[in-house]
């Protein structure tokens, strides 16, 4: 009987109060009438089934009624409700959006066989034999494969296209456990130079270029001019590594497919069943240490799980963003709790009357919780739209490395996260007002009380909320200011060139009939001439490594004849390149058409070299480097040009005629808007030879914007959320201050009546609001310096969160908050002491 009574408590409040007694009595009657253990057992079973059916039904009924009431309540306070819902929607939405990135990169497992046992290392495997030796002798690796990736020209008939190609060892697919959609993958001996004329194409490429034709198997395609036979098609969605469209087994036969720029080699491995990732890393490093005892540990190649390598810096950045969003969410929650608390206070009279009419505490609590959960769920639905949008935004700025890591909101885990966050926040700020309400004053007092008269509990809760809000806001503000400063510094960086009025367009001659034997220069000269003929173009040049184009650069040790050494990037340029891009010659001369293949080797160095030597004395000196066969004479010194705003390297320039590169970016300085020249420049170059792919026609400004896109995105995000949290905090503080006044109207009226000055009262009220804020500020400043350590993950070359920044964030918040509170206290001036006294 006791058990049954206890079970009856599971009914929603209203039904329980109405019918718990008759239900219990009826059960007692039936229990008495049931004779024997069997009958009683059946009675129990029936009763349990009945409860299981009717409790949810009653819950649905009552929450429907509560919801209708909640909708009426909220409609009366439309503005506050809209504000609360949008704040929550934004906070929940962006948190969910960022979580979808974390989910895709760090939680969702990779679409490979047993992905948890895959590791990745930058350790370079030089030969096939070395790879097999390593695999066979390794105590921790079951299998090893190597790959490198590059953009290459793909042609079959007619026009060429640029595709992303991965050159792999033959065991690449087997290691990952990838089965072909069609045909077969590489055989073990196919990474030998004699057998490597084969390729596996991606599903997307197969569909787009070959219309999904199964007869493609056995067909021949040209990659950088080398004929390869298609032997298989990869399964749909497989594009590892780095959105690869085509795989060749030529990793150990690098010269086979001519390549542009430096080659980045990666090694992947599968751990033996008994080995853990940590053990394997320890043994790997110990092995390296034995081999290179003098090298510091930091210079060893990295060793990570494949998952964390693929998540890369985005994984870290999204974790930082997730942490920041947790702060924003907390602030939004505190704000909604404010809102509900002041409403609770306003509604105390209503609640008291309902209580007097027979509504129990449980019933009112249930109503309040329903109201807050409804508010959050509405916010969560709106938040999902925000989440979808923010996930798309993040993927446009920081796309995932392979398509299996696509960020999406429509994922069970992400949706679950959103619902959990919504319910948690709803309960969090729903329970507080409900709990305070249930401790409200005796009914009779409340009915008579002024609306808004506060009890101690509500007041203390508000003070705590202010402190929490102030603390979180300071952390975010300090972060925002720091990010803003870092970004401004990036923007203000002198790139050493002028980005305005410059159009750029790239070509690659690899695999074309212009490759080799000095034929490149003939093509480049014709292309430059055709660009020079475009009306409005006043300077044209060419370069193989354009600044602001993200490339893998190679550094070489460069020695001056004096013995001074410097690490620098070799860059091939044409005459007039410096003029076209606006890089200033400090000393000496530019390259000219006279610097030909057979003339004296010459070089122009960037001003970093002048750090060691007097700039004027560099001219005429000789430089030697492993990159050059013969020493070259320095004929000029040029201002340093940065490869990216936060990336500076010394350069030594060589005439393209003496070191013809296989690919080049043409730079044209034009009159007027360079956008208008892009199409014509591309067409002119295409006309030189339609077989040569022309790509990346962009203005230099656009390239700069692209280089700045990532830092700009993170900075904007943090600034927006810093500002947003400041706004929320101000609204909260204003609300608290005005609430404090309305709660104490009577007392203030009496004080004014007995001669207190309103200004003094205002100061007293201000102090009351600012005191808890100061406590929050102190905690916030402490937290902000912690945050600074993580901001590095968002924007490299970041400045630390220093004391002045923290102080100015705290000051900014304190001043604006004081202004808000002061404005709120203006109501004191309007309080008429007589009416306050009359209320007595």
């Amino acid at each position: 009987m006791k058990l049954y009574r206890w079970l009856l408590r599971l009914y929603p409040a209203r039904f329980r109060e109405e019918y718990a007694a008759p239900l219990a009595r009826q059960f007692a009657d039936e229990y008495r009438e049931a004779q024997g253990a069997g009958a009683r057992a059946i009675l129990w079973l029936r009763a349990l089934a009945d409860l299981a059916m009717s409790i949810p039904a009653q819950f649905a009924r009552e929450s429907q009624q509560d919801l209708k009431y909640a909708a009426r309540v909220y409609r009366r306070r439309l503005w506050l409700t809209t504000l609360a819902i949008s704040a929550l929607a934004l906070a929940i939405g962006v948190t969910t959006g960022v979580f979808s990135v974390v989910n895709a990169l760090l939680i969702r497992s990779l679409p490979f066989r047993d992905p948890g046992r895959l590791v990745e290392t930058g350790y370079f495997i030089e030969s096939r034999q070395q790879m097999y030796d390593w695999r066979n002798s390794s105590p921790y690796l079951q299998d090893v494969a190597a790959y490198s990736t590059a953009e290459m020209n793909l042609s079959r008939t007619g026009a060429a296209a640029r595709v992303h190609v991965a050159e792999t060892s033959s065991g690449f697919f087997a290691l990952l456990g990838i089965k072909p959609e069609l045909g077969r993958m590489f055989r073990a001996e196919e990474d030998l130079p004699a057998n490597d004329g084969v390729t596996v194409i991606g599903y997307g490429l197969w569909q787009q270029m070959f219309g999904g034709d199964p007869r493609m198997l056995g067909a021949t395609i040209q990659i950088n001019g080398t004929a390869l036979t298609v032997i298989g098609v990869a399964p749909p969605g497989f594009d590892y590594p780095a959105h690869t469209a085509l795989w060749t087994p030529t990793f150990f036969d690098m010269p086979k497919l001519g390549k542009a720029g430096a080659i980045l080699c990666e090694t992947i491995g599968r751990l033996r069943p008994a080995a853990t990732e940590a053990q394997a890393r320890a043994i790997f490093q110990a092995e390296l240490h034995r081999e290179y005892p003098d090298e510091p540990l930091a210079s060893f190649p990295r060793w990570t799980t494949l998952q964390s390598q693929l998540a890369g810096p985005i994984g870290q950045a999204s974790l930082v963003l997730l942490g920041i969003m947790a702060f924003v969410l907390l602030i939004a929650c505190a704000n909604v709790a404010h809102l509900l608390l002041s409403r609770t206070a306003e509604r105390r009279q209503e609640m008291a009357i309902r209580a007097a009419l027979g509504a129990s505490r449980a019933r009112l609590t249930q109503q309040l919780i329903t109201e807050s959960v409804a508010l959050t769920l509405a916010a969560a639905v709106a938040g999902l739209a925000v989440a979808h949008w923010s996930a798309r935004l993040v993927s446009s700025v920081q796309p995932a490395q392979i398509s299996a890591q696509q960020y999406g909101v429509l994922d069970g885990r992400v949706l679950g996260f959103a619902i959990a966050v919504a319910l948690l926040t709803g309960l969090l700020f729903g329970i507080l007002p409900a709990w305070l309400m249930s401790r409200a004053q005796p009914v009779v007092d409340s009915v008579r009380a002024q609306p808004g008269a506060g009890s101690g509990g509500v007041g203390r809760a508000r003070v705590a909320l202010i402190a929490i809000q102030a603390g979180c806001t300071v952390v975010l503000l300090a972060g925002s200011l720091t990010m803003g400063r870092t970004f401004l510094r990036l923007l203000g960086t002198d790139l050493g060139l002028r980005t305005r009025n410059v159009a750029t367009v790239s070509v690659s001659l690899l695999g074309s009939r212009h490759e080799g034997h000095g034929r490149e220069m003939q093509y480049y000269r014709r292309a430059l001439e055709s660009l020079r003929a475009v009306p409005g173009v006043d300077a044209v040049g060419g370069v193989n490594y354009l600044p602001l184009g993200a490339q893998n650069l190679m550094l070489f040790a460069v020695a001056l004849d004096s013995g001074a050494r410097q690490k620098a990037v070799p860059v091939s340029v044409t005459p007039q390149y410096f003029a076209s891009i606006g890089a200033k010659l400090i000393d000496g001369r530019d390259f000219t058409e006279a610097d030909r293949e057979r003339s004296e080797p010459v070089a122009i160095v960037s001003e970093e070299f002048a750090r060691h030597e007097d700039a004027a004395r560099l001219i005429g000196r000789m430089v030697t480097t492993p990159y050059l066969d013969k020493p070259a004479r320095i004929v000029g010194v040029v201002r340093s040009v940065r490869f990216a705003p936060n990336w500076s390297l010394a350069q030594f320039y060589l005439p393209a005629a003496q070191h013809p590169p296989g690919y080049m970016t043409f730079v044209a300085h034009v009159h007027g808007n360079p956008e208008r020249y892009l199409a014509i420049c591309r067409d002119r170059i295409q006309q030189v030879d339609p077989q040569v792919p022309v790509y990346d026609a962009m203005t230099l400004d656009a390239r700069l914007q692209r280089a700045l896109a990532k830092p700009r995105f993170y900075t904007t995000a943090i600034l927006v959320f810093g500002g947003f949290s400041l706004l929320l905090a101000l609204i909260g503080i204003y609300g608290v201050a005005s609430y404090a006044i309305s709660a104490r109207t009577h007392e203030i009226g009496v004080r004014i009546a007995v001669g207190a000055s309103p200004t003094r009262l205002r100061f007293a009220l201000l102090r009351q609001t600012m005191l808890p804020m100061a406590v929050g500020l102190a905690f916030g400043v402490a937290g902000a310096s912690e945050l600074g350590r993580f901001l590095e993950h968002l924007i490299s070359g970041g400045v630390p969160v220093d004391a002045p920044t923290c102080a100015s964030a705290a000051l900014l918040l304190a001043i604006t908050a004081a202004a808000a509170a002061w404005t709120a206290t203006a109501r004191v001036l309007r309080i008429d002491p007589m009416s306050a006294l009359r209320a007595e």
């Binding site: 039904f15 019918y19 008759p22 009595r25 039936e30 009763a47 409860l51 059916m53 009717s54 009924r61």
Partner: protein, 135 residues
Amino acid sequence: MDRPATYYVKYIHSMPKTAKSQIDAFLPLPPTVFHMLLALGEGERHGYALKREILRRTGGKVNLGSGALYGSINKMLEQGLIAESDERPDPHLDDERRRYYRITTLGRRVAQAEAVRLRELVRLAEHRWGLPESI
């Protein structure tokens, strides 16, 4: 008595119409509700008596659980099909006070309308196939 006569005519005509649509909104009635209304049609009853009466009438086929019973009572009270009469002791059981329910006018009309609806259905079936006395 100086109001125009049309007013009354309009009022008289519209009155049963709204009532009928109001009643129709309840149809078809859930069988348990119909049974409860029928049982209450014979007089006031408290919850447990209602349950036993329905059990008796249906030969044990409709055995309402207490939760379902009071759930229906709660809903019917809100809909105005039944009303609480008062609390008084049950003469048959003991002298504990119990809550009694009675059928309202609306409840009676709704039950009648349901019966008419069922009769129409039965007639239709009879017309189509002819019905044996028992199966």
